[in-house]
Symmetry: C2
Subunit: 688 residues, 2 copies
Amino acid sequence: MIPKTFLEPSAIALVGASHEPKKIGYQILKNLITGGFGGRIFPVNLKGGKILGRPVFKDLAAIRQKKGEVLVAIAIPAAAVLAEIEKAGRLGFKNIVIISAGFKESGPAGQVREAELKNLAAKYHLNILGPNCLGFINRAAKLNLSFAAADFSRQNFDTGLAFFSQSGALGSAFLDWSTERALGFRLFVSLGNKAVCSEIDFLEIALKDKNIKAVYLYLEGITAGPKLINLLSRLTLQKPVFVLKAGQTVAGSQAALSHTGSLVGSQTAVELGLHRAGAVILDDLDDFFASLEFFKPSVWQEAQKPELIIVSNAGGPAVLSADQAARLGFKLTVLDNKIIKELKKYLPVLTSFNNPLDLLGDADPKRYAQALEIILKQAPQAQVLVLLTAQTMTEPLATAQVIAKLAKKYPTRSLFASFIGGQALISAKAYLQTQRLACFPTPEMAIKAWQKLAVYLENRRGFKIYPLATSRPVKKVLPSGLFDYLASLQLLESYQIRTIKTTKCVSSHLKTIKFPVVLKAVGPSFVHKSDQGAVRLNLNSHRELALAVQDFHHRFASVLKNKLNYLVVQEMALAKQELILGFKRDPIFGPILMVGQGGIYSEIFKDVRFSLADLDLKHARELVSSLKIAPILRGARGQQAVDIQALVKALVALARLANDHLEIKELDINPLFAKARGIVATDVRIIV
Amino acid sequence: MIPKTFLEPSAIALVGASHEPKKIGYQILKNLITGGFGGRIFPVNLKGGKILGRPVFKDLAAIRQKKGEVLVAIAIPAAAVLAEIEKAGRLGFKNIVIISAGFKESGPAGQVREAELKNLAAKYHLNILGPNCLGFINRAAKLNLSFAAADFSRQNFDTGLAFFSQSGALGSAFLDWSTERALGFRLFVSLGNKAVCSEIDFLEIALKDKNIKAVYLYLEGITAGPKLINLLSRLTLQKPVFVLKAGQTVAGSQAALSHTGSLVGSQTAVELGLHRAGAVILDDLDDFFASLEFFKPSVWQEAQKPELIIVSNAGGPAVLSADQAARLGFKLTVLDNKIIKELKKYLPVLTSFNNPLDLLGDADPKRYAQALEIILKQAPQAQVLVLLTAQTMTEPLATAQVIAKLAKKYPTRSLFASFIGGQALISAKAYLQTQRLACFPTPEMAIKAWQKLAVYLENRRGFKIYPLATSRPVKKVLPSGLFDYLASLQLLESYQIRTIKTTKCVSSHLKTIKFPVVLKAVGPSFVHKSDQGAVRLNLNSHRELALAVQDFHHRFASVLKNKLNYLVVQEMALAKQELILGFKRDPIFGPILMVGQGGIYSEIFKDVRFSLADLDLKHARELVSSLKIAPILRGARGQQAVDIQALVKALVALARLANDHLEIKELDINPLFAKARGIVATDVRIIV
């Protein structure tokens, strides 16, 4: 937990303040002064003298202020950083920003340096941002502790945005974007290498700060999955969180040992986590900038029930807008009779009354004004997108003025635009910008950004905070590898997941078994039983069984000498619906549970659904219902309906098992047969 | 076929030339004069007088010029148009542009008017563009016959583009975009209602005009599918064609009677056709404008083997670029050793040598210049994307100048940029624009546009022109509805598609049949046999069959009185792999053939592939191989491999059948069983 004094220090010591204007240590000092920071600033440099009119201190030790309230910024070569941190720690400073690069990101020597940095942080209880970062900018405190320019005088409108970025460059682009639009964000933090403090710490601040209206996150790596999801889910209940996660398409690192393992992609956990947290997931930089555009009017948040009405002077773009809505899976509001009646009365020139509403190619500003006013009055829920292309009668600037006027008249309504074209729109677009009205280059981009916010608002209803699991010790320390087969079945049974009757293949055990049966060789030498020919289905008599056993003993003679390998006999399951249940433990996010179609098509159609470990009956039922094969499970196409409730219960039981048994890395129940009454697991594989 | 004189007339008669500057008839005249058209211009208006200094003719009849070389433009109220066309026809004019609206688009009266217009066109052999259009602009002839402004003096650089647009507004946006960027297109045609001439006519012109380097098409409706595909495929062999098709997501209009029918979506035919034609399919307006950006340098076409190398001063955007490449399914070129060696030699500051190449946050213009020069020299195939965000040491304008200099030095190489941010980039972006270098707001947009061109180039190799089928008469006129069951099986057999042994359920026929058998009730009352309980599988003896027949006669007594309904007995197919083969005849594109997984999962996983009617063995094999279940068909997951060659042959035979029998609207073979040797159709449904 970062103290308030970190982002709002009473003084700042800048170690590495430089006399040379091209150096970062000079830039930072300049930014601190230009930004208008109210507290004292202590430039620190062995050379002493004055920089930008400020007297320079030769050593941190010379600073006589309450140490906990002084933020130490470090911008010196990497090789000198650790000594300075040690000194700061000894002197009693607590809050540090390390701008310097040359740590984890720079190779083996840097990795060692970063590890030592962590040790120092632990030793002196230091809050450290960085290393290898741009710094941070707290606009509310007029504090620009970074080497990026941020013209606060231009950024005179508070959007209430906070942006926490693992990329300094993207932070720069964001600041630059804000400056062009004369928009002020609230807080920008360049996270750097996240050696000590991470997004977690700053999200906690965003959670408490009522002035932060929306949070943007750019992440490349995630370290504390469940904590992040918990925090994000608490945040998204209050304000939207937008996450751009890079490195999404990196191929999985190692081959999985189970089907579940191979079906849980390397990104499944991240996507699942962010989705569970209710975050708005941004696909790319187009999404990033488009969503930012919405914080100009900052009123969309008020909408209880998102509805979109589009008006246009351009038929083609209107059709393309309808295409985009359909592609994104939502329906444009149908104009109600009140609106149509008014439109017909005041705008008799119109010929059709659909959404998008076609104002026709010769629409002048007055026609736009009349149509928009009718919609704003008669559809109090609707958000309105105004499309315009410059045609012969079009007056782009005057139309922009109409929009601005209506935006003032209806300050709680969201009115945004897409002006499509070039030369003829320049002044109109510039005008919309000065009025801080959102304008997108294309309707498709506007609609996508709008829809992401609409989905966020919809998901927020009935949203539950992701629980932080109390950490449990690993129950048993087992040798890593395949868990014993019969013990695996017993483990499932102990969680009320029914398994098929199975016995060791010893003649005394076989009396109670009912034919037909299955013979399997199991154990560490039979990881891929089917492919190894170590499964014989449908044995109908003691004689057939005996022959199969003889064959196995012959073929697997050498490995069966190892007592960990043995033969089992199972009753045949006669149900038809093969399912797969399982989980894979993600190193960051914990167990990822999976349910789906089993059998030969499982890895072909990948009809599986995933969940994090906080799985309850309701969510489990939703997962099963959202499977493509759900209609088949319910009895479509002449199939017998199966016991979905039993399946759902088994899935929740598996989640409990996953949460209890931290030693299990992967677990596969494949197949699990769903029957008219109950389910039965007929094969299991547990990797510990 | 439109004559050359249409787009390059020696004179123009403008019926509806107006004295009022706000009217379209005045605008057009002004555009004709301002554009600098070299031929004579005859304003026509009953009022006479002078407009813009030009003497006005009271009647078309007064014009004494070679009629075939005069283009008549009509901009008068709809009600007066037909009389004027009749007159023009009688006088011997051939080429007409109708700007006036008030036809098909405006309701029933307009539809009648448009039908009459078509009759007049046929009567007098008129070439008519429109009605309800903006006109056209032939920049090469300095001819702006439209009411859209197009400043030719600003558009002084010839991109060689032609744009044929069914939306006037989108045409305006395109002209406006061109003007802002000071880019000249070659030809713009607003297609309007396409009452007589359509995109087909203008594509034929684009095919012959070597000065047209690329073609853009915006379409809402398509009338002549095969002709369009044929023409587009001839064009794409020469130059890229970009198609934005609106109205893509409209729901299908009526429920299909067959599985094939329900699996062939309303847009399948259009997508299939455009893909078959080798066109670059644009998803939306973002795609549209992004792809246009590439015609600034206009050199990408030279690349034989598209390779992309990205250099960046920004780590985050570089990672996002790699994500985008992976998402689009292509691999960024790996930097080869020569390049890495040179980079290490001349830029020792760099720490990694991947693609994207990270020039680090403090990259100055010199570093950009060195890296780019090395890449351009050492990777002669590569196209290069330059990323930049404004960081402390960044000099955006000077870096833009570096790019411009290198673009001049390597004129046949494609060098394009994405400068990401705002305020700090304004002058650099403006500079790139004056230099006509492509610059995108985000790398993702740049990469997507690049990749679409790369795919186009790749597809062009070994590309075949889509054949124009010689039109065949419908063989038999049949009452519409379900085709007789036994006749359907016979029809398949006559095309060498093997069917299961089937006989009418008459005792004398049953002697030759082998048990187990299937009993089915077939005929117009049994369109959904399975759901109606009209199929009994696995009957093992004469006794079981007799009982089933008794049951059917009891349950279906009333409908079986109709002789078109009857019972059949079929041998049971014992193969396991159920497939579906079929076709649906699209009213615009002709038969859409389909092959895929059959059985209960067919409509769940929709693992089906489609083709137009020009299906040969090679393409059929590709379709089957691209099925998700292809590995299963080849024998994966312990399944028996099936006779893929027989399946492929059956598909090609079905294409022949579809091309021969124009009376068939839908045909379903479901299931068709694929066996270790051969295939066998066990059920068929033909809708005529």
